[in-house]
Symmetry: C2
Subunit: 696 residues, 2 copies
C-alpha cells in the first residue's frame, strides 16, 4: 500500500530503463520530459533533479506542463564525468486551493469557509518554514481569516502572487513521488561531438618512398592543420610480426622487403606498448602528441586487440590463446578462410580476468603518454561486457578520454557498443549513396533514441573501404561524399591522402580494397597534385568551425525537393537532397513517445540572429548529370518569416541569393560543384539587405 498519488512515467531521454547512460558534452543543455499526472483535478508541482556524480546533493529545476500530462525541464552540464538526473512531483494543495478560490471569487461566491481552509494550508507551510518566511506565512493565515476585514480584500490577499511564491518554497514532500530510476549522463569533452578526423599511414610520409617516421608525421602536421582537421588518426604504430606476414596486395607470402600490415601487431621487439623501430621511439611519439596539440590536433591511436604469432604475449601468456589439439595456437579464421598471421585472444579462456586486466593496461599506458582518443579495431569481435567494464573504468579516472568503435556489423551490435561506452561509432554512411537510403538512415541515427548514445562518425573511405561509388564516380563522387559526410554529421573523417588525391582503383573488380593498399606497402603521395580536392575539404572544415549549427546533429532536418527534368513535376526529386541544421529552435526529435500534439508551436529565432545559425545544404547525388528542382524550405522550422525575402549565402561559391517563400529553384552540375552550402539570414528591413546575385 502506497498512498503517493502522483505518477511519473514515460521519461525521455531514458535508455533501456536507465540501464545505460545518455551522452552529452560539456556545456550542453539536457532537456528532460516525462508524463506526470495524478488522479482527479488537483494541481501538481514537478521538478527535475540533477547532480554530478561527485556532488552529494541534488540541484533542481522546474518542470513545466506542455499539455496532455507531458512536462519538460532542463539543466546544463558543465563538468566532465557522470551526472545523474531524476524527477520529483507532488500534489500541491495550496496551488489547487488557490486556483479554486480564483474561480469562486470570479463566480461571486461566499468564500468565508474557503479562506479558513486556505489559512490551514498556510499554517502548515509556516511549520515547514523558518525565520521571517514562517512569520510571513503565519501572518498571512491570520490576515485572510480576519473577520474584521472585508471578504473581498481578504480573498485578494490570499490570491497575492508573492504569497503563492513564498508557499512554493516550502512544499510538503512527505507524499511526493520520486521517479523509480536515477538516470545517468556521460559528459564528454566537446570533441566527442564535433570532430574532423584525418587518417594517414606514418610510414608513407617519408620522402621518396623512404619508410616514414614519427618525425615525418610531425612535419605533416601543418598540412593537416591547413586542411582543418582536428584529429589525426594513425594506424597501429607497434612492431609488426614477420611470421606468416602478408605481402603487397595481401599476397599469401611476403618478400623480404615487404613491410607487413600494421595490424599484425607484435614482434620480438615488443607488442602493444612498443613503437615500431623504423617509426621511432615512444619519446618521439610523445613529442608528436605535444606538437599536434599545439595545432589543436589530437592524435588518435589505433587499438587492435589481436597479435601476430611473434607477439611476446604468445610465449608469456599461452593461457590467453586457444590451443589446438596438435599443440599449435589457434589462428584467426572465417571458415574456410584462414588468417594464420593473426592470433585472436581467447576471451573464453579460464584466465579471462587477467586478459581483461592486461588489455586495460594498454589503454592506460598510452593515456599516460598523452593519448586521449582511441580508435578501436573490430570491437564487436570481443565480448561486449569487456568493453563496458574497460571503458567505464578508464573514464572514471580519465573522463576526457574518447573511444571510436570501428564496428561494421549489425545495427543492434553497433548500437550496443554505443550504449556501453564508445564515444563515437563508424556507421553505414559509406554505403548510403542514394537519397532514399541516406535519408532513412539519417532519421534512424538522429531522430530516434539511438541519438542519445551513438555518436555517428561518417567516413567516405577508409583503408578497408573504397566503395563502388568512389571507384566509378570520379571527382564529383569524391566532392559529394565529403560534403555529405562533413555537413550531415558533426563527426566525420577521411583516409588521406588517398581521399583528397581521388585514389579510386580497387585491388580487383568487385572488391572494396584499394589497389596497392597502404595496409601492405609504403605509398608515396604527391600532395601538390592539381587534382587534389584539398582546398574544398579545407573550406568545408572552415565552414564547420564557423557555423555552430554544424557542431551537432540533433537539428538535422530534410526538406522536400520537387524534381525537375524527366521526373514529373511536384514528385520528390530522386537526385537532389536538401537538409538543414539550425542552432536555434527546438530539437527536431520530439521527446514525446506518444505522438500526441503538445503545447504551442515552438518559436524559432530569426535565421542569422545570434541565437539561430541556419545552414541549408543542397546536394545533387547523381555524379553523372546536372539536375534541377524546387527546394520546399520548411520555413517555420528554420524561423524564416514567410512574408519577407531571405538571403542565402553560398559558403562554397561565395554567391548570394535572395529567396522568398517556401519553393525555390536550384540547379546543380556535379562536374562543377555538386552542392550549395547556404547560410541563411533574414534581414529585418529592406535597408539591412545586402546585394544579391541575380542568378544561380
Amino acid at each position: 500500500m502506497d498512498r503517493r498519488r502522483v505518477i511519473i512515467e514515460g521519461v525521455q531521454p531514458e535508455i533501456d530503463a536507465g540501464r545505460f547512460p545518455i551522452k552529452r558534452v560539456v556545456g550542453d543543455e539536457v532537456t528532460v520530459e516525462a508524463d506526470v499526472f495524478t488522479d482527479g483535478h488537483d494541481l501538481m508541482t514537478s521538478r527535475l533533479l540533477w547532480r554530478h556524480e561527485k556532488q552529494r546533493s541534488w540541484r533542481h529545476a522546474p518542470m513545466l506542463p506542455l499539455g496532455n500530462d507531458r512536462w519538460r525541464g532542463s539543466f546544463g552540464v558543465e563538468s566532465l564525468g557522470r551526472y545523474r538526473y531524476c524527477i520529483e512531483a507532488w500534489v500541491d494543495p495550496f496551488r489547487t486551493w488557490r486556483s479554486d478560490l480564483d474561480k469562486r471569487v470570479a463566480a461571486m461566491q461566499d468564500v468565508g469557509v474557503d479562506l479558513q481552509i486556505g489559512a490551514a494550508w498556510l499554517e502548515q507551510a509556516a511549520a515547514r518554514a523558518r525565520g521571517r518566511d514562517a512569520e510571513s506565512l503565519r501572518r498571512a493565515a491570520v490576515t485572510i481569516t480576519d473577520e474584521r476585514v472585508a471578504q473581498a480584500e481578504r480573498a485578494a490577499a490570499a490570491l497575492d502572487r508573492a504569497l503563492s511564491t513564498l508557499v512554493s518554497l516550502y512544499p510538503d514532500l512527505s507524499h511526493a513521488t520520486r521517479y523509480d530510476i536515477e538516470l545517468e549522463i556521460v559528459v564528454d569533452p566537446a570533441r566527442a561531438q564535433f570532430s574532423a578526423w584525418y587518417e594517414a599511414f606514418p610510414r608513407s610520409m617519408g620522402e621518396e618512398g623512404r619508410h616514414g617516421t614519427i618525425a615525418d608525421v610531425e612535419a605533416r602536421l601543418p598540412y593537416i592543420h591547413e586542411l582543418g582537421f582536428d584529429v589525426l588518426y594513425l594506424p597501429p604504430i607497434h612492431p609488426i610480426g614477420t611470421t606468416k606476414r602478408k605481402g603487397r596486395n595481401n599476397a599469401e607470402t611476403a618478400s623480404a622487403d615487404d613491410v607487413g600490415s600494421p595490424w599484425g601487431i607484435g614482434g620480438v621487439e615488443g607488442g602493444h606498448k612498443s613503437v615500431h623501430a623504423e617509426l621511432g621511439t615512444i619519446v618521439d611519439f610523445e613529442a608528436l602528441v605535444m606538437s599536434a596539440g599545439q595545432y589543436g590536433i589530437d592524435v588518435a591511436m589505433d587499438i587492435a586487440f589481436q597479435v601476430s604469432p611473434d607477439h611476446p604475449y604468445v610465449q608469456a601468456h599461452p593461457e590467453w590463446f586457444r590451443a589446438r589439439p596438435d599443440g599449435t595456437v589457434q589462428y584467426a579464421e572465417n571458415p574456410p578462410k584462414k588468417y594464420q598471421d593473426i592470433y585472436p585472444f581467447d576471451f573464453d579462456s579460464a584466465e579471462w580476468r587477467s586478459l581483461w586486466e592486461e588489455l586495460e593496461t594498454i589503454f592506460r599506458f598510452w593515456i599516460e603518454k598523452g593519448v586521449r582518443i582511441f580508435r578501436v579495431d573490430n570491437p564487436h569481435t570481443k565480448p561486449f561486457p569487456f568493453w563496458e567494464w574497460c571503458i567505464t573504468r578508464i573514464k572514471q579516472k580519465y573522463p576526457d578520454v574518447l573511444f571510436l568503435a570501428e564496428a561494421f556489423t549489425t545495427p543492434r551490435r553497433m548500437e550496443r557498443l554505443g550504449k556501453l561506452g564508445f564515444s563515437q561509432s563508424y556507421t553505414y554512411f559509406s554505403w548510403r549513396n542514394d537519397k532514399a537510403s541516406l535519408t532513412e538512415y539519417m532519421e534512424q541515427l538522429v531522430q530516434t533514441d539511438v541519438a542519445e548514445y551513438l555518436r555517428p562518425n561518417f567516413w567516405p573511405n577508409t583503408p578497408d573501404i573504397l566503395t563502388e561509388y568512389l571507384q566509378t564516380g570520379g571527382r564529383p563522387a569524391f566532392m559529394n561524399r565529403v560534403i555529405l559526410a562533413s555537413m550531415l554529421s558533426s563527426n566525420y573523417g577521411i583516409y588521406g591522402p588517398a581521399y583528397e588525391l581521388l585514389s579510386h582503383r580497387p585491388a580487383k573488380a568487385g572488391s572494396e580494397e584499394y589497389l596497392d593498399s597502404e595496409k601492405y606497402e609504403i605509398r608515396s603521395w604527391d600532395l601538390e597534385d592539381n587534382h587534389s580536392i584539398a582546398r574544398l575539404i579545407a573550406r568545408l572544415n572552415e565552414i564547420r568551425k564557423e557555423n555552430v549549427a554544424l557542431h551537432t546533429n540533433h537539428t538535422l532536418r530534410f526538406h522536400r525537393v520537387a524534381g525537375g527534368g524527366r521526373e514529373s513535376e511536384g514528385q520528390e526529386s530522386e537526385h537532389i537532397i536538401a537538409f538543414s541544421k539550425a542552432s536555434g529552435g527546438d530539437r527536431v526529435r520530439s521527446l514525446n513517445p506518444h505522438g500526441d500534439t503538445l503545447g504551442e508551436p515552438v518559436v524559432v529565432d530569426a535565421p542569422g540572429s545570434d541565437a539561430n545559425n541556419v545552414i541549408l545544404v543542397v546536394v545533387n547525388m547523381d555524379v553523372a548529370a546536372t539536375h534541377h528542382g524546387w527546394v520546399a524550405v520548411d520555413l517555420a522550422a528554420l524561423g524564416i518569416d514567410p512574408s519577407r525575402p531571405y538571403i542565402l549565402h553560398d559558403l562554397l561559391s561565395d554567391a548570394r541569393y535572395e529567396w522568398a517563400g517556401a519553393l525555390n529553384y536550384v540547379e546543380l552540375n556535379p562536374h562543377a560543384v555538386p552542392a550549395h552550402v547556404f547560410r541563411i539570414t533574414q534581414p529585418e528591413t529592406q535597408a539591412q539587405r545586402i546585394d544579391v546575385d541575380t542568378e544561380s
Copy 2:
C-alpha cells in the same frame, strides 16, 4: 566483470521495463521477440522460458532467428492467473564448430585437427548427459577421431543431424545469459477480449412506468439474449440518498416523486453492499445472476466509490471524508460548481488504509454473490496506487474477475489504468466520427504497446454521452456507429433501449446529456417500435460470434479507398472507410521496435480456409449522402491470391460479389444500409465457386 557473452535486449512485449504485465486470455498464443546477439561469429542458441506463477519450474520453447539479430518464439497460455516469461541464450560451441566443419569439408580442407576439437565438445556434452545419451556422445567422440576410419567418413558422422540434436539436449549453461527481467502476463477469461455489453436501467423495466424490479430485469433477459449481448451492465442498484437529491433533468431540487440518481449511493437502508428496496433483495439479485448465466450473460455491476450524504459511512466513518472548518463534510466540487448530493472519499485521509480495505470488501461482497464483471465509475478520480493494490489482490483469489474502467480522461491516465490492472477500458471512440481521426485512433490503440495492456471497449452512447453525431445524424448515424463499434472492437457496448430505439434528443443544445435522462427518472420504452434497429444489432452480434476474426483486434488493418464523386480520382476517400480483420497470418503490429525489415514475408493462409477467417468491412461515414469509391484491398495481407477472383459474402445483406485484383468498386447509401460486412473466401477452383450477384 562478467564474461557472459550473449546480449539480450529489445524484448517485446515488455511494458515499462517489466513494471506492468501484458494481458492475454486463456488459449492465446504469446509471441515474444528479442534482439539476441554476441560478439564475433559464434552461433548461439536462444530459448523462451515461461511458467504459470503457481508452477515452480520453467518450461521452454525454441526461439528462431528472423535476421538482423531479432529472434522470435511463442507459447500458449491455458490457465487463468499470472504467467511469467523470460529469455535465455548462450554461445553454442558445438553448433559453431559443426557449421565451420561443414564449410571446411565443402572446401576440401584437411579436418583432422578439427575432428579432434569436435570430439572434445562431445566429451563435454557427455559429461553433462546421463545414461545412454552420455554413452552415445562418448562413442561419437571416439568414432570421429578413429584414425583407422577415412576422414570423409568421420566428418560425415560428425555432421550427422541426430548427433547434433543429441548434443543440443545437454547445453552448457554455465555462461548462459538470462534476460534481466522476468516479464509477466495476466491471463483473463475469453470474455475479457470478446464481449458485447448492454447497459440498461432496471427501474425502467417495469410495465407502464411502474418502478422496475430485479424480477423485471430477469424478464428482459430473453430480449437481451436475442439481441446477442453477453454482458448486461446495470447502473448502481444500491439505496439512493434523499438529501440534496437532484430532480428530473438534473434539477437543483427534487420533487417528492423523483427517484434520484442511482449514483447518489447510500441511504438509511444501507450503502454499497445493499440493494435498493424498490428493486428487490440481494437474494433476487443472486437469482438474476444465475438466470443470466443460463443465457450465457454475465451481469456487470457498477462500482462508484462515492456516497450520498445519507450513506451509513458518513456517520460511521467521518475519518474517510474531509471535514470543512464549519463542521460540515466536504461535498464534491468542480469550482465554481458544487455537487452537494455527493461526498467523495478523502483518499488523503490519515485513515486511508482502512478506507482502501473497506472499498476492497465491496468487490469481494458482490463477487461472493456471483458477480464476475465490474464497471468502475470514474476510476481516474481515485488514486492510481489504490487500483493496482485492489485489483491485484482480488485477481489473486479470483483470476476470472474483470474490471471495466470508465475513465474519460487524458490518454496517459487511461493507459495507466489499463497498465495497473483494469481488464477493459472505455475509449474516445464515441467522438471519433470522421475517417481520419478514427483511423489514427485505432492505430494508436491496436498497433502500439497500448494494445498489450489496454483492451478498448467501444460505446456509441452511454447515459452520459449522446454525441452530436447521434443527435443530428438520424437512423444512418445509429446504424453507422454500432456497425463500427461492433466490427472495429472485439469489446463493445450500447446503452439501451435508448440506442436501438434511436433516442437522440439532448437535454439542451450543445449538451451531450439525454433529455429526460434515465439517470434522474424512470423511462418507459416501446421495444416493439418499428424504428428499432434491434434486428441490425442482433445480426451484428451473430456475425461477431460466427467469425473468429472479430474476436480480437490485433489483426485490424485499414485499406485505402480511392474516392469517387466530387473528390479527385485516386485521392483517398474522405467518407468511405474500409478495414479488415483476419484470423490467419501475422499480427499487424510488428513487435520489432527498430523498423528494420526482417526475415521472409509472412505466408498467410487462403481466406475462407479453416485457418483464415477474413472479414472486410466497408462503411460510408457520411450520414447525409451516398458515396462511391474503389477499395484497394491489401491482398497479400489477407492471403488472397491476386491471380484468381475471390468471393465477398455480405453478411448484412446476404448478397455475394466476385472481385478480382486489388481495386474494387463500392457504393453505399446511408439511408439503406451504410456498410458492407464481407466475409471473404477464395475458392481453389472454378468449380468450387458459388453463384454470385452481378451488381451491388
